[in-house]
Amino acid sequence: METELAIVGSGPAGLAAAIEAAKTGVKVTIIDENPRPGGQLFKQIHKFFGSEKHKAGIRGIDIGHELLEQCEKLNVQIFLRTEVWAVFDNGKALGLKHANNTTEKLNTRKLILATGAIENPLAFPGWTLPGVLGAGATQTLMNLHRVLPGQRVLMVGTGNVGLIVSYQLLQAGADVVAAIDILPQIGGWGVHASKIRRLGIPILTSHTIKEAFGNNEVKGAVIARVGQDNKVIPETERTLEIDTICIAVGLSPMAELAQSAGCQTIHIAELGGWTPMHNKRMETTIKGIYVAGDVCGVEEASTAMEEGKISGIAAAESLGYLQRGKAKELMKERQESLNALRAGPFATQSKLGKEKLIERFHKC
């Protein structure tokens, strides 16, 4: 099979990249291992923040529908339940495994990796018991599959994901017993924190989980206060009767495909860990392989879409579908938009991380 631009991942970054490239006439093929496209968008039933041109006030699920509709209009080909098991020839070919268990080679001229991120685990005694699950997985269960994982929940981690999922658990009828964080301050936005506080969920900072217990499933957990050294302060332990523990301790880029393709990676804590290096055009250290979205630094869906657009424009230009001047102008717009998104006080870290990443790219 042949295409001009292969995109791995149909989340906000992948879809935005596809639309931007397909608009110029590029033949685009998206591959996603999931049964439906959209990445995490369709479980995001909350409204986005930020300015209007960044889709603020719109829910993730609606953005997903809008992007998919555009892809359909532009004849973007999407293979679902299809896995990419290897990248060959410096990104010029992919090994695919289709839903019917057949394999196929997809030859492509350009490649965008928009594989997203994976939830970080947290190890403590009892962490493998049924009932301990990622906050993102909880959100998928609730909002996509309409299954409530439990009735009494402990949320570990108070970043935006922890806070938003706590609120959605309440909306879905569960009881969130507490949201804890090992740091002395809440990780996420004040607006999310005050919303769940108003609804009576205690947020306990400087707290950690010591263990989960239960024979075949979670029956409870022991939490405790920590000192400045992050160690448990003796005799501050408390036992909570719960059946579910949600782990919301951050995400790491899913950079394996990029790594196996030979793209150079760098560890940047602000971006979530090992990240493929890229330049302002989102091109990696291998010419013709681009990255966009959480795979090159965990941020927001809004930034992922902007990065996706930039990678799509860059790929279209290098394929000859966009004049250099026009591409430059389009990319400048997107870059300004990205800068605006990263200007907020909560984006300082990722802005720093991205600057480091691009600086390192040009050094190597």
Partner: protein, 406 residues
């Protein structure tokens, strides 16, 4: 970095690291130079088979046997880490009548050489390996064969060498070798010059590039193998399974060769400059290896190619390997591949490595091992005896570079 040494070893693979360890018993003045990291080429990417059944009598079998003797002692007395060594026997499975006839001939002949081969029928194969395909007609089995984790083993030798006082410099590339009156004087690296009178070329598939530095043609060629490893699966396989290189339309003579692992070399003596033969279609150059690791990830290989040092994997190779592996172990059908890679087996025209002294004084070669994990400890022991006591290498004439020129 040290400025002088008794011996400078070039190459941080299994041959270089075993040599460093054995030499460290006699002298504290050994330097090992490695362009990348320890075990970063073939020694970190092979199947870790310590097999007797595939060896040719003479040098090859002697080294393999001695290593099989040495490994348990090294594990008990020297290594401070587990190398996942397991002596579980090795099995070469076959599917056709032609292969069975060849297997009978090979088994009889190897038995007469003292290699304890057994010919197994289908029921005996499935008793040992119940998960193997019902299409398998039988197998050649050798209970002496063992397996290990090649990367851990190489690293264990490097640690033992370091403990013995060897200076190991990784990320250190040899740029040239200075000679005077046809004798080694010093080795020049990107981090400076080291004076020495003995250089051991253990650069594996890059041995000929090191040879060029002293004007010596070393006929070792990179033979590219591709492999992949699956996700962890429930325990279904106990030992390494190998296939044959016999095609349905092979003659019996070719089939026996395909089984006894002797190279298809013309009756003439191999010559320097004799290029690896062109092998034809990729599909005709596959050989099955299925290795269960201790964690029950399954490593599968391989195809053979002569493409220089091109390390890319290919869709064509990996799908061929997967098809072969699935035919032999049907349970691999729905298993995910988590990683794939290519490495270079150092190839010589007769399948025997090049080991020993050369016309350049102090320039010793130990390279061209397609079976370095199996030869490593014994080769290193023999090299230490040669370097320190001037003792000749057993069956040394079979491994000497002079076999290509005399």
């Amino acid at each position: 970095m040290k400025r002088c040494a008794d011996v400078v070893i070039i190459g941080g693979g299994i041959i270089g690291c075993t040599a460093a360890y054995f030499l460290s018993k006699y002298t504290r003045d050994v330097v090992l130079l490695e362009r990348k990291g320890i075990a970063s080429e073939a020694s970190g990417a092979n199947y870790g088979m310590i097999w007797e059944q595939t060896r040719q009598p003479g040098y090859d079998l002697t080294m393999a046997r001695r290593s099989l003797e040495l490994y348990p002692t090294l594990i008990n007395e020297v290594f401070d880490t587990d190398i996942e060594y397991e002596k579980k026997g090795g099995m070469t499975v076959f599917f056709t009548e032609l292969e069975r006839t060849a297997a009978e001939i090979v088994t009889r002949s190897k038995q007469s050489q003292g290699i304890p081969l057994q010919l197994l029928g289908a029921p005996e194969v499935r008793e040992l390996e119940p998960a193997l395909s019902e299409e398998i007609m039988g197998a050649v089995y050798c209970h002496e064969d063992a397996q290990l984790n090649p990367m851990l083993t190489t690293i264990a030798f490097a640690r033992a060498a370091r403990k013995g006082g060897v200076a190991i410099y990784t990320d250190t590339e040899v740029l040239s070798i200075r000679t005077h009156n046809q004798s080694v004087q010093s080795v020049i690296t990107n981090r400076g010059e080291i004076k020495t009178s003995i250089v051991l070329n253990a650069a594996g598939s890059w041995a000929s590039q090191i040879g060029d530095m002293v004007g010596l043609k070393i006929p070792v060629y990179p033979h590219k193998l591709q492999s992949f490893v699956t996700e962890q699966i429930p325990h279904v396989l106990n030992r390494v399974i190998q296939g044959t290189q016999i095609h349905r339309d092979s003659s019996l003579e070719e089939a026996v060769q395909g089984f006894s692992y002797t190279r298809n070399v013309s009756a003439e003596r191999p010559r320097i400059g004799q290029q690896p033969f062109h092998q034809g279609a990729l599909a005709d150059n596959t050989m099955l290896y299925i290795k269960p690791t201790v964690s029950d990830n399954i490593v599968c290989g391989t195809t053979f190619e002569f493409v220089g040092h091109d390390k890319n994997t290919s869709y064509e190779s990996l799908t061929l390997i997967a098809a072969n592996a699935k035919k032999t172990l049907p349970q691999l059908k729905d298993v995910h591949i988590i990683r794939s890679w290519a490495n270079f087996d150092p190839w010589t025209v007769d399948g025997i490595p090049i080991v020993g002294e050369t016309e350049i004084g102090g320039f010793i070669i130990a390279a061209g091992h397609g079976t370095a994990m199996s030869h490593g400890p014994a080769t290193a022991e023999a090299l230490a005896e040669l370097i320190v006591h001037g003792k000749p290498i057993p069956f040394g004439e079979q491994a000497s570079i002079t076999r290509f020129t005399d």
